[in-house]
C-alpha cells in the first residue's frame, strides 16, 4: 500500500474510533496515562496499518491494542489497578431527593468495591461486557482468550458480584416502597 493510502486509512480509523479508544483508556487509567495510552495505541495502528482489520472488527482490534499498551512494560507497568481511584472519584447521578443521593452514593461505593474485588482479568471482562458493550466473542478476541474461557469467567464474576450487590438491591426495595394507590374523595 502507498504511504498516501496508508495515511487516508489511518485518518479514517482515527476519526471513527478515537473517542471510543480514549474512553476505553480513561476508564482504566488516570487522565494523563489514558492520553498517553490512546496516542500510543494509534501509533501502533500507524505502524501496523496493514494488519488492522476492516469494520466491524476494527474497534475490537483497537481495544486489544489499547489493552496491551496499558500493560506496556517498557516504560511503565500495568495501570488498570487505578480503576478504584477513578471509580471512587465519580460524580453522582442527578437526583433531586437528598436522601436518594445518599443512597445512590452508597450504592455506587458498594458497586465499585465489588468490581474492584474481582480478579483483574475478570474485572476487565465485566468492563468490556458492560461498559464497552462487547459481545462475548469480541471480549474473547480483545483478551486473546477462547470464548468458553470468557463464558466461564463471566459466569464466575457475576456470581461474585451478585453476592456482593444483593444487599444493595434489598436496600433499594426497602427505600422505594410501591406507589400508593390513587384515591379520591
Amino acid at each position: 500500500m502507498t504511504l498516501q493510502t496508508d495515511k487516508s486509512r489511518f485518518e479514517a480509523i482515527w476519526r471513527a474510533h478515537r473517542h471510543q479508544v480514549l474512553a476505553y483508556c480513561l476508564r482504566r487509567a488516570s487522565s494523563a496515562d489514558a492520553e498517553d495510552a490512546c496516542a500510543e495505541t494509534f501509533l501502533v495502528v500507524w505502524r501496523r496499518i496493514d494488519a488492522i482489520p476492516p469494520a466491524p472488527k476494527t474497534l475490537v482490534f483497537l481495544y486489544g491494542i489499547a489493552r496491551k499498551v496499558l500493560s506496556n512494560q517498557s516504560r511503565a507497568f500495568y495501570r488498570r489497578g487505578r480503576l478504584h481511584t477513578k471509580l471512587t472519584n465519580l460524580g453522582m447521578t442527578s437526583a433531586a431527593d437528598p436522601m436518594h443521593i445518599v443512597v445512590q452514593s452508597a450504592d455506587d461505593r458498594v458497586v465499585t468495591d465489588a468490581v474492584r474485588r474481582l480478579k483483574p482479568i475478570d474485572r476487565e471482562i465485566v468492563m468490556l461486557d458492560v461498559w464497552e458493550d462487547l459481545s462475548r466473542a469480541e471480549i474473547a478476541e480483545v483478551l486473546g482468550m477462547t470464548r468458553s474461557a470468557v463464558d466461564q469467567r463471566i459466569h464466575r464474576a457475576y456470581q461474585k458480584l451478585s453476592r456482593a450487590l444483593e444487599p444493595v438491591l434489598e436496600l433499594r426495595s426497602i427505600s422505594s416502597p410501591p406507589d400508593a394507590e390513587e384515591g379520591g374523595t
Binding site: R48, G144, T146
Partner: protein
C-alpha cells in the same frame, strides 16, 4: 439477582458513559504528540521504502550478544546455587493492585499471586534499599526508562509463539507444563529449563533474553489474574522460577536490563533471596 440487574448497577458507575462527549474537543491533547511521532515514523518509512526495515536487527543482535556476555556473570550470580529458604517476614504489608507505582519504604511486603483475597496463597519479601515501587504482584526499581523487577504471579494464559496474536494458550496446569510453555515461546534461552528448589518449593528454573523482531515491539509472554506482561526491550534478561506451591503453579519472575546498574541488580537479588511462597 439477575445478570441484567447486575449489569445495570455496574453500567451506572461507568466513568465515561458516552464517548461522544469528546466530540467537541477533538482530543487535541492526543493529536499533537501523535502527529509528531507519526511524522517520525513516516520519515522512517519513506527512507526505507519497504527495504532494510530490519536494519537495526544486526546491531541489536550484536548489542544483545555483548550484553549477554556482560550480564552472563550476573546471571551466574543470581542462579548459582539454590538459596537457603528464607522464613516468611512477619507483619508484611500487603501490596494491593491499586497501589501500582506507589513508593515502597524499606520493610516486608506481601503480594497476592492469584489476586484473590479469599485465598491464602501469597509471597512475602523484604526490601532493604530505597527507590522501590509497587507492582500489582511484586516490586520494581526504575533506572531511567528501564528497571529491575520481581513479580510473583499465577498465570492464566501464555502466548506461544510470543509475537503472534491472538494465540494465547491456557496456562499449563502444572509448574512443569507452564515452564515448558514459556520456554517454548520464542525467547533467546540463556539457561535452559532445569529442576530447581527455590523459595520453599520445587519446580523449574529458566533464564532468557527478550529477542528483537516482534511486530510492534510487543513480545507478549503471559497474562495473569493480577497482571499482564509483554516486553518491548530486546536484550532484557528475565529469570523465571516455575514452582509447585501445593499443586498450584506459581511463577516468580526477576528481570533486569543490560544497562541496569550493578547495585540495582544486586538489590534485586537481595529482595529475591528473601522471597517466601506460602500456600
Amino acid at each position: 439477582m439477575t445478570h441484567d440487574q447486575i449489569r445495570e448497577m455496574v453500567r451506572r458507575v461507568n466513568p465515561i458513559p458516552d464517548p461522544s462527549i469528546f466530540e467537541s474537543v477533538d482530543v487535541p491533547v492526543l493529536r499533537t504528540p501523535l502527529e509528531r511521532r507519526m511524522e517520525m515514523q513516516t520519515d522512517r518509512r519513506e527512507v526505507t521504502n519497504g527495504r532494510g526495515q530490519n536494519r537495526w536487527r544486526g546491531p541489536l543482535v550484536g548489542i544483545a550478544v555483548a550484553a549477554a556476555i556482560v550480564v552472563g556473570g550476573l546471571v551466574v550470580v543470581l542462579t548459582n546455587d539454590d538459596p537457603p529458604v528464607a522464613t516468611p517476614a512477619p507483619n508484611a504489608t500487603r501490596i494491593n493492585p491499586e497501589e501500582m507505582d506507589s513508593p515502597l519504604a524499606p520493610g516486608a511486603y506481601f503480594v497476592d499471586p492469584d489476586g484473590d483475597e479469599t485465598s491464602s496463597l501469597g509471597g512475602t519479601f523484604v526490601i532493604e534499599g530505597t527507590g522501590w515501587t509497587a507492582l500489582p504482584s511484586g516490586t520494581r526499581k526504575e533506572f531511567g526508562e528501564d528497571y529491575v523487577s520481581l513479580m510473583v504471579v499465577e498465570v492464566d494464559q501464555v502466548w506461544s509463539p510470543a509475537c503472534v496474536e491472538p494465540a494465547a494458550l491456557a496456562a499449563g496446569a502444572t509448574a512443569a507444563d507452564l515452564a515448558n510453555q514459556v520456554a517454548a515461546n520464542g525467547f533467546a534461552i540463556q539457561e535452559a529449563l532445569a529442576p530447581v528448589s527455590a523459595f520453599g518449593h520445587d519446580g523449574h528454573h529458566l533464564v532468557v533474553e527478550v529477542p528483537a523482531g516482534c511486530a510492534g515491539d510487543s513480545f507478549m509472554v503471559w497474562d495473569g489474574p493480577t497482571f499482564g506482561r509483554f516486553y518491548q526491550s530486546p536484550g532484557q534478561v528475565v529469570e523465571y522460577w516455575f514452582l509447585d506451591v501445593e499443586g498450584i503453579p506459581v511463577m516468580v519472575e526477576a528481570s533486569w536490563f543490560p544497562v541496569s546498574p550493578e547495585e540495582d541488580v544486586a538489590e534485586l537479588r537481595a529482595v529475591t533471596d528473601t522471597l517466601v511462597l506460602t500456600p
